[in-house]
């Protein structure tokens, strides 16, 4: 009786999870499938499988600048993630070692920063970037992305460092390291899981970020993928397969990154909430 009920529950749960997965995966599968179709077959039989595995659509998408957008996205993502990881790592380690209410108060303020939506500060950020003469430069994205990524990454690192044996830093200090040297030579090399998951999280956010990029970048040569693909849609209103090929190319790097580092990602998330 018990086993049957358990089986029924398991079945319902699996069914539910499967359905949710389908809702997420179907558009992705359709995007990849349609990227291989011709313009005609796309409208005549939208749900049919592609007739051949031709990369023509990808070539067309690439030809209008997806490659350049991708390089821009890579640069902005890489720079932002580097800044986020370094600043958040040092801040979180210091905060995790601080005794008393001061550290707690600073930590809470940083956590509070995480709760402010990007949209709420778009106009001030635009004005600041404009005032600083940074519009249409990569810094106009890197700086706000870093500022927005730091609170969450501090939370992530903080949870990791709470479990980090403080004796390791102390042993390093007795071995002649300054606090900074101990951080760089002992703590950072042992923080792989936290760094990997922080990098994935922030890469996903920055890679896909659209509104801020749309506001501060108007020069075509600097545009990132999400904004660049918007242009693609304008030029190819009737070439949906090329648009979807562009989107597939845009999604691919993140998928690869996630697959490569997903074990760190899961391990680090498991430590959150401390």
């Amino acid at each position: 009786m018990n086993t049957r009920r358990l089986n029924a529950t398991t079945l319902v749960l699996y069914g539910f999870v499967g359905l949710m997965s389908l809702i997420v995966l179907l558009p992705v599968i359709y995007m990849i499938m349609a990227a291989f179709k011709t313009r005609t077959s796309m409208f005549v039989s939208p749900l049919a499988l592609p007739e051949s595995l031709s990369f023509e659509t990808f070539e067309r998408a690439w030809g209008v600048g997806v490659g350049g957008f991708m390089v821009n996205s890579l640069l902005v993502t890489f720079l932002s993630v580097v800044v986020i990881v370094i600043v958040s790592g040092m801040a979180a380690y210091a905060l995790s070692q601080m005794r008393g209410w001061v550290g707690q108060a600073i930590y809470l303020m940083i956590v509070a920063g995480f709760a402010i939506p990007v949209q709420a500060v778009l106009v001030p950020v635009f004005q600041i970037m404009s005032g600083a003469g940074l519009l249409n430069s990569r810094l106009a994205l890197v700086l706000p992305y870093a500022a927005y990524g730091i609170p969450f990454t501090v939370i992530l690192f903080y949870a990791f460092f709470l479990d980090f044996p403080k004796e390791l830093e102390e042993a390093a200090r007795l071995d002649g390291c300054s606090r900074f040297q101990a951080f760089v030579r002992v703590i950072l090399p042992l923080s792989g899981p936290a760094i990997a998951s922080a990098a994935i999280f922030q890469s996903v956010f920055i890679w896909n970020e659209f509104i801020l990029a749309l506001l501060v970048l108007t020069r075509r040569g600097l545009k990132t993928l999400p904004v660049g693909i918007l242009d693609l849609q304008g030029e190819f209103t009737s070439d949906w397969p090329a648009v979807l090929a562009g989107l597939t190319l845009a999604t691919l790097p993140l998928l690869i990154l996630f697959v490569l580092a997903q074990k760190y990602f899961v391990r680090s998330l498991a430590g959150l909430g401390k």
Partner: protein, 377 residues
């Protein structure tokens, strides 16, 4: 010279005063063990000597040099941690040489220092292994090796054997003793284990609530504790303490009475402290091994046995004495612990006669200070 001189040391965390003014001198080459219950400040004191905690007041000198405000690496000390604190991303050799590499020492000299330390500790075969591939005992040896390679003036040990099992702990205790003899270095060792303190120390420092309660050789502290705290802390099983009444005082002789036993007269060895008067409450301390056979001990009482522990060469008996109760002992509910230095065929539920000689008693006043010692101490 690598003596350590601590004077007027104070350390607080917010409102909590962890060290309340400690003065202590550790001689060159001495093995000093600091003991005390959790929260007594022993680890804080060690960490302050290491420079991992800053002192609020007072001074620390190593080899005559004031190091109070020096960085940990510049104090001439090396520390072995309870959880080993080996760098997981370096192999054994990397762990042992890290300090020397940080100091910029030449590669051949580093290799020689690592080889020497590995030889002393018998870990030469493990130099290429990662810490996770080592057993607890091997990890502790590597941690000690890391300290040795730096050739410090003073070794600091923070409960280094606590994570090891009982058998390995005994083995490492002997090895540390041998290491101290071989190196002749000054060593300061923190533990809450009184057996480690008694077996390894040249001198023991007993700490309580951030203050030094007593300093002396293991025998001195065991035989002539300044008070109930030290008397109870050293010795396993701990001393039995029984409340009594001071019934008579004639100059430097006092007579105490325990319910159900004949009065016992003892010399007043310590006159400093509260003036003892007739009617005062005092406490009588009896070591578990100090009870004797009823026929030649002077006083006798009946003991109803509750628990018997046969330890092979000795027998521990936990039981309820007739006529009085204990105030403190390793037994519960006012019972006594009695140690027989032989195998004894007794069972729970049985009542046996126990002898007690007046000459084996410690007498503490109600402030906890020792006022009378046993005859042979």
């Amino acid at each position: 010279m690598s003596d350590v001189k601590i004077s007027g040391l104070r350390k607080s965390y917010g409102r909590f005063e962890a060290i309340k003014g400690v003065d202590l001198t550790v001689a060159d080459g001495e093995f000093v063990v600091m003991v005390g219950p959790s929260g007594c400040g022993k680890s804080t004191l060690l960490r302050t000597i290491a420079g991992l905690e800053g002192a609020d007041e007072g001074a620390i000198a190593v080899g005559g040099r004031d190091v109070t405000h020096e960085e940990p690496a510049d104090r001439g000390v090396a520390m072995v941690f309870q959880n080993y604190a080996l760098y997981p991303h370096m192999n054994v050799s990397g762990n042992m040489s890290f300090g020397l590499r940080m100091a910029g020492m030449a590669k051949d000299k580093i290799a020689a220092a690592v080889e020497r330390a590995a030889g002393i500790l018998n870990i030469g075969d493990h130099l290429d292994k990662q810490p996770k591939a080592l057993s607890g005992g091997q990890k502790q040896r590597v941690a000690i090796g890391r300290a040795i390679t730096r050739q410090p003036e003073v070794f600091l040990f923070d409960e280094p054997l606590s994570n090891l099992d009982a058998a390995l702990r005994t083995k490492m205790r002997v090895e540390l003793g041998r290491l101290h003899a071989d190196l002749g270095a000054t060593m300061i060792y923190v533990t809450h284990d009184q057996t480690e303190a008694m077996t390894m120390a040249d001198r023991i420092v007993v700490l309580r609530d951030g203050l030094v309660e007593q300093v002396g050789s293991p025998r001195e502290l065991y035989n002539r504790p300044v008070g109930r705290f030290v008397a109870g802390f050293l010795g396993s099983p701990r001393m039995n303490v029984v409340p009594a009444r001071l019934t008579r005082r004639e100059g430097d002789r006092i007579t105490v009475s325990i319910d159900g036993l004949d009065d016992m007269t003892r010399p007043l060895d310590v006159t400093k402290g509260k003036d003892l008067r007739e009617g005062d409450t005092v406490f009588v301390g009896i070591r578990p091994e100090a009870f004797g056979p009823p026929e030649d001990s002077g006083r006798r009482f009946a003991l109803k046995i509750r628990v018997v522990e046969n330890l092979g060469r000795e027998t521990l008996v936990y039981g309820t004495p007739q006529g009085f109760v204990s105030d403190e002992s390793d037994a519960e509910d006012g019972d006594l612990v009695i140690q027989f230095a032989r195998q004894k065929d007794v069972r729970p539920g049985q009542t046996i006669d126990i002898g007690l000689s007046a000459s084996a008693l410690y007498i503490f006043d109600d402030a906890g200070l020792t006022r009378s010692f046993p005859n042979d101490h």
